[in-house]
């Protein structure tokens, strides 16, 4: 067990390094973008005079490394600053949206993960059957439609008839059951988007093992196919499955800006795209770091779980 803890420690340190690299990359990329916050705020109506005044006010005239340093030292003390665009504390701006993003990700995961694991196991069990082919074809079709298009189709079917709302409106009075009802279509869209990947990987990981001698042995012993798959194949296929699940969970948190736009869902993705196009660097940085942390932590969790699931990795000599 000790080396698992050591691994976690090491990985967390590496994670911090990753976050640092990302903050530099994002800052640099945002700097390379044409224009700046002053320009974006004033839009088409900017004149050199007002631009200069606004830049001065926003502190955009400092050299880039100095601005990065100022941001970094403040951020290390837990102060993410205020959004230069609307003068609100970034922590407040993000807090509500982070909650929304995590809610949607959890909601979609709660539907997608069990569904895809079940379908994956069944497809492996009945491999090459009509069931296998049909599930595969459907899953592939659903991921080969662009996300926004899947969303539009679901809206036509389920929202225009009035069964579910086509947009999400969250206020202070919104209760959890309300949220579950309103966020159903976005969650369903995301489910359709991520299921195929996890399902196919589950199926592939199990089938990959079915040719191994120990499975052959089990088969010769006359065990039922279901028992072979569930008791003998799945435990050894867990590592790749956990990894792909983690990857998709990370996607559900970080990659859903298009679904947010279509369902008017106030999540972090929309915030980040807005902040990028407005060059509100402090907000971009904060959201990028949240996304990166989610990614790093989920990957770490996946590695820990796959280590725990594999006795050989647990008791390495």
């Amino acid at each position: 067990m000790a080396h698992v803890w050591r691994m976690i420690g090491q990985r967390l340190l590496l994670g911090l390094l990753t976050l640092f690299v990302i903050s530099v990359v994002i800052f640099g990329a945002t700097e390379l973008l044409p224009g700046d916050l002053a320009r974006e705020l004033l839009g088409q109506s900017a004149t050199p005079e007002t631009l200069a005044a606004l830049r001065e006010q926003l502190g955009l005239n400092d050299p880039a490394p100095l601005r990065y340093w100022n941001w970094l030292t403040a951020a290390l003390q837990g102060d993410f600053g205020i959004s230069m665009g609307n003068k609100r504390p970034i922590a407040d701006l993000i807090a509500a949206r982070l909650g929304n993003t995590l809610f949607l990700a959890a909601y979609a995961a709660a539907m997608a993960v069990p569904l895809s694991l079940m379908l994956g196991v069944l497809a492996a069990l009945w491999r090459n059957s009509i069931f296998d082919r049909a599930v595969n074809a459907m899953a592939l079709t659903s991921i080969s439609f662009p996300e926004f298009f899947v969303a539009y189709i679901l809206i036509v079917w389920l929202a225009q008839s009035g069964v579910f709302p086509s947009m999400v409106r969250i206020s202070s009075r919104t209760t959890t059951p309300d949220m579950l009802y309103m966020a159903f279509l976005p969650a369903l869209t995301l489910t359709l988007v991520v299921t195929a990947h996890m399902m196919r990987m589950t199926r592939a990981a199990i089938i990959n093992l079915l040719a191994s001698p120990y499975i052959e042995m089990a088969r010769l012993k006359g065990l039922s196919p279901l028992r072979i798959v569930l008791r003998h194949a799945v435990p050894n296929a867990l590592a790749p499955i956990i990894n792909v699940v983690a990857l998709n969970l990370a996607y559900l948190i970080t990659g859903v800006v298009v679904v947010e736009v279509v369902f008017v869902y106030p999540g972090l993705g929309q915030l980040m795209v807005d902040a990028v196009s407005n060059r509100d660097i402090a907000v971009v940085q904060a959201v990028a770091l949240i996304f990166a942390s989610a990614y790093v932590l989920l990957n770490l969790l996946a590695d820990v779980l796959s280590t725990l699931s594999n006795p050989r990795l647990m008791h390495r000599r």
Partner: protein, 520 residues
């Protein structure tokens, strides 16, 4: 300077208002917008889905730049002067205004108006609200318009504004959406406050998401702001907006996707409101750079596009053909009889030959940030111009950074203007020599002379003549292709009643839908 009197002996203000009435008569409203006149009645909640809004939207009036911020502001604030549905100036917080010479303007401020916070509105609040847009440190987008302002001071119940030169149209500036009256302390307004005197009080606001407002019980206008509450949602995606309307989640959407207008109308339950105003789309050419420095080349391009096709395909018919004229049909001095330019490849070839060219190759940079359908419009332009031996390569630029990277940077690109209620403002903004937003870098001796002269010209007919000559110059010698005037296209649920006439001055009834509309 002598006191300016119009021939009939009316004061300047009388002249201006008479002139506005003329402009209004020329206003064209499609049949769909005329509804049976009904009395406004109080009650209900009005929900609007607006295709703008961003997480960086704030409360600083100098930085409002999108329809969401503008509509939200109109719900909670009032200005000194309002532009009414007939495009005339109407008193709002200024009871009346007058000028003797066009240099000194006196605005009489309404008494007994209170802010949402309960504070009485004073002359000082008005002065502070205007001064927010003046001075060294001001970051306001309308700062350039205050450049001619020498002084703003109080005189009892009046605010007196002194200019450095006569400007007959100065009062129009007070109707600009950037100039709400906000409460002041120590001569400054608080640009992070929502406090105003408008019809609705802000309950909550999440930038880029939604705002909820409730009726202001102390609103000084008794017949306006009839809803109990207003909800403004920012819905950027056109399909999402459409769905929100179709499922009854909102009562109003703007910028209806042209592809779906007919189907939406046929579906029932909603109506399309299409308002023609002065807004127009432009393709400015850098008149300093070859080949656009030659007016023949510019004319060749002006004859090489099919304007009607663009109106049909890009605007879905909700607009009208423009003749490279930035003054629109809702303007007072609109030159309706200017000789039109049809799609004429032969004429285009002729002008190319005049320029000493057989063929022409140019790159047109566009992005939908310039206007919805800009890239498609550029593609259509390119297709039609081919017949005249003009090769237009369409370069789609990212929406992001378009105003920095492309506009006024690339020699030939797409852009738009919301139109201005006053001819002078439009010309001064984008066509005067050296103007900050003169996006074609155009400099025309005669035009610039006329522009200055017309500003203080009293004689109505002479003024009209001058503005019409300017329109002809821009159209035939200017460096912009203006293919069309775009209507403001909204879809409104039948739940909501709209007045007989909807303002052509800006979108959503001059941003004032929440104030002027009511539950049917």
């Amino acid at each position: 300077m002598t006191t300016i009197k119009s021939p009939a002996g009316l004061s300047r203000r009388g002249v201006l208002q008479g002139a506005s009435a003329l402009g209004a008569a020329a206003l064209i409203l499609p049949a769909g917008t005329r509804r049976a006149a009904a009395q406004p009645k109080p009650g209900g909640v009005f929900r609007a889905g607006i295709g703008h809004g961003s997480t960086t939207d704030g409360y600083d009036p100098g930085l409002w730049d999108n329809l969401y911020a503008q509509t939200f502001a109109a719900a909670r604030h009032n200005q000194l002067i309002e532009v009414d549905a007939d495009s005339q100036l109407a008193p709002e917080l200024a009871e009346s205004w007058e000028t003797a010479d066009g240099v000194t303007w006196v605005f009489k401020i309404r008494q007994g108006v209170t802010f949402h916070s309960g504070k009485d509105m004073t002359v000082d609040d008005v002065i502070a609200s205007l001064n927010h847009h003046r001075g060294e440190d001001s970051t306001s987008a309308v700062k350039p318009f205050f450049d001619p302002v020498v002084d703003i001071k109080a005189d009892g119940q009046n605010v007196v504004v002194t200019l450095n030169a006569a400007n007959a149209d100065f009062a129009y500036l007070m109707s600009d959406y950037h100039l709400p009256i906000m409460p002041s302390a120590d001569g400054k307004i608080d640009p992070t406050s929502t406090d105003g005197v408008g019809g609705y009080v802000v309950e909550s606001f999440e930038p880029g998401v939604q705002a909820t407002l409730t009726k202001n019980p102390n609103y000084w206008k008794s017949d306006r702001a009839n809803f109990d509450g207003v909800e403004l949602l920012s819905i950027i995606d056109p399909a999402a907006r459409l769905n929100a309307l179709m499922t009854g989640a909102v009562d109003l959407i703007d910028q209806v996707d042209v592809a779906t207008i007919d189907m939406l109308e046929a579906r029932g339950g909603n109506r399309i409101v299409s308002i023609s105003g002065n807004a127009h789309y432009v393709f400015p050419m850098d008149s300093r750079a070859a080949p656009f420095s030659d007016n023949n080349v510019r004319l060749a391009l002006k004859y090489a596009l099919d304007r009607q096709e663009m109106v049909d395909k890009i605007l879905g018919g909700h607009g009208s053909v423009a003749n490279d004229n930035p003054i629109g049909p809702a303007n007072r001095y609109f030159f309706a009889d200017l000789e039109p330019k049809g799609y004429d490849p032969d004429k285009a070839k002729f002008y190319l030959k005049e320029a000493g060219l057989d063929t022409l190759e140019v790159t047109l940079t566009a992005a939908d940030a310039a206007f919805t359908g800009a890239v498609d419009a550029a593609v259509l332009f390119s297709e039609k111009a081919a017949a005249a031996g003009i090769t237009i390569t369409v370069d789609r630029a990212p929406n992001d950074g378009y105003w920095d990277n492309v506009w006024m940077q690339k020699p030939f690109c797409a852009s738009y203007w919301g139109g201005r209620p006053v001819e002078d403002q439009m010309f001064t903004t984008a066509y005067a020599r050296g103007a900050a937003w003169n996006d074609s870098f155009w400099d025309h001796e005669r035009f610039n002379e006329l522009l200055v002269a017309a500003r203080s010209e009293v004689d109505e007919d002479k003024r009209r003549e001058m503005y019409q000559e300017m329109q002809r110059i821009v159209s035939y010698e200017g460096s912009v292709v203006i293919p069309m005037y775009n209507n403001y296209v909204m879809a409104v649920s039948d739940r909501i009643a709209t007045p007989e006439k909807i303002s052509a001055n800006w979108n959503l009834d001059g941003f004032r839908c929440s104030e002027r509309w009511w539950i049917a």
